[in-house]
């Protein structure tokens, strides 16, 4: 266990020096900060709708940026080290594969989350200060749930990236396959699903199932249901889901499902790491 934390710590230090981390932090952290500062101050000034409008834009941006950022930066973690023979050297020291793999995972987890959640805290702080001066309530429940959705979405892609990173031998293939997965998931969000539904060739149950299996769609539905409980903005699939599951169950599902899938994928990656040749 002590090596697990050592490896996580060193991975974080390494990431903090890399260029991708700064691009990621600036882009994503900036967006988060913008959203929360604008949203929070708007909501204090104009009430709930201010936050909702910002949230909608932000959800769309998140859906596109967050998964691909996590995939690109993480998928190279193990496959890149393997290709450059860094893995050969680092693993010639007496650390267990368990410590190494989960340490790397923990390290990436922290680097991916810092830029997402630091701005949230700052904005919340700001919100509290604003609230003190102007009166009005912060939508605590919404902020908390929304952060949980972000956490879940990040987690599933982190697990996916580690899975791909260990089972695939070369970085190029790992990167390529992560792009394919990302594009497919993006393609099967509501818009495409609606198209399928309209064609009437595939049964509605299949379409609903596809929607519920796609973590990006799950995030989208969950996030939008937070501020638009009627889900008027996102179409019939989401509406159907909300109708059958109810809003509480939907929220729980949107938090738990991606984490479970992320854990399963990460665990499969770990099994592959142990059972296959390391180099």
């Amino acid at each position: 266990m002590k090596n697990l934390f050592l490896i996580a710590y060193l991975d974080v230090k390494e990431s903090l020096r890399s260029k991708w981390f700064y691009v990621y932090s600036v882009v994503f952290g900036g967006l988060m900060a913008l959203f929360f500062i604008a949203g929070v101050s708007d909501s204090v000034v104009m009430g709930f709708t201010g936050l909702s409008r910002m949230l909608l834009i932000f959800i769309q941006v998140t859906i596109i940026i967050l998964p691909i950022f996590i995939l690109i930066t993480t998928v190279k973690s193990i496959s890149g080290d393997r290709e450059s023979n860094v893995l050969e050297y680092m693993l010639s020291f007496p650390v267990s594969l368990k410590d190494y793999y989960w340490g790397k995972m923990l390290g990436r987890f922290l680097t991916v989350f810092l830029p997402v959640f630091l701005p949230v805290f700052l904005a919340l702080l700001l919100g509290v200060v604003f609230g003190l001066f102007k009166g009005g309530d912060l939508p605590w429940r919404m902020v908390f749930l929304y952060s949980s959705f972000l956490f879940s979405l990040s987690f599933v892609f982190l697990g996916l990236a580690f899975f791909l990173s260990t089972i695939v031998k070369s970085t190029d293939v790992a990167l390529g396959s992560s792009f394919v997965v990302w594009i497919i998931m993006l393609a099967f969000i509501d818009i495409a699903l609606m198209g399928l539904m309209l064609q009437n060739r595939i049964s509605d149950e299949v379409i609903i199932t596809i929607a519920m299996l796609n973590p990006i769609e799950v995030f989208r539905i969950g996030a939008i249901s937070l501020f638009d409980p009627e889900l008027t903005v996102i179409g019939p699939v989401a509406y159907y889901l909300l109708d059958t599951l109810g809003s509480n169950l939907l929220i729980i599902y949107a938090i738990v499902y991606p984490i479970v899938i992320g854990l399963i994928l990460a665990y499969f990656g770990y099994i592959a790491f142990r059972k296959k040749d390391l180099l």
């Binding site: 390494e14 020096r17 050969e88 680092m90 020291f93 390391l278 180099l279």
Partner: protein
């Protein structure tokens, strides 16, 4: 007996890279391993270090299986790879990794480095991969020699050193505990002739010669 490899075979994409290799390394053995590129030397070493799941045969190091008991096996082995890996950690962080994972003290590594005229302290914040080729190799050697191991494995360790660096390196090797076994993969037998007492020749995945000298 330190390392016992019995009839090991390993295929990569249909080609036999190790073909029924048997080899034992005893305490005090100082081995020069030679052979053309692609003979399987690096693969054999990696199998001993537990990086590969071999197709058939058995390997044990100090009685442990290198894949199943990698921590127990690697505690007692120091390894220098063929090319210095582009590790992005700073020197400081790399030393921390070695110190914590293997119980080697930093002071010892500083000491070994200065014997090779490598001034670590002035580069301590630099990423490892930004050091010059020779400096990287020296640091890897210093780390390997500082770690208390019963087997030292060097995969062509002097390939990146200038003649002076090589001389210093061989000087250091004379200081290795005689209890400690060494395995050098090398193309330059002439340079280490005085340091070894056994010569192994590999070709096409087989050990073709194994003699004491």
């Amino acid at each position: 007996m330190l390392v016992v490899a019995k009839n090991i075979s390993k295929k990569f994409m249909g080609t036999k890279v190790l073909d029924n290799v048997s080899l034992t390394i005893n305490g005090g053995d100082r081995i020069a391993m030679m052979g053309p590129n692609g003979a399987g030397k690096t693969t054999l070493v990696r199998a001993i270090l537990g990086f590969y799941h071999i197709d058939s045969g058995e390997i044990s190091v100090n009685g442990f299986d290198p894949v199943k008991k990698r921590v127990d096996v690697l505690k007692n082995i120091s390894f220098i790879p063929q090319l210095p890996p582009p590790v992005k950690l700073s020197i400081e962080e790399l030393l921390m990794y070695v110190e914590r994972s293997s119980g080697v003290s930093k002071e010892k590594i500083f000491e070994e480095s200065s014997k090779m005229d490598l001034d670590l302290k002035s580069h301590i914040k630099k990423p490892f991969f930004k050091l010059s080729g020779g400096m990287k190799q020296k640091l890897l050697i210093a780390i390997a020699l500082s770690k208390k191991s019963s087997l030292l494995i060097f995969d062509e360790p002097t390939a990146n050193l200038d003649p002076k660096g090589r001389e210093k390196f061989y000087e250091l090797l004379t200081e290795i505990d005689t209890e400690c076994s060494t395995l050098f993969i090398t193309h330059r037998l002439d340079e280490i002739e005085g340091l070894v007492n056994r010569k192994i020749y590999m070709d096409l995945g087989k050990v073709t010669e194994d003699e004491k000298i």
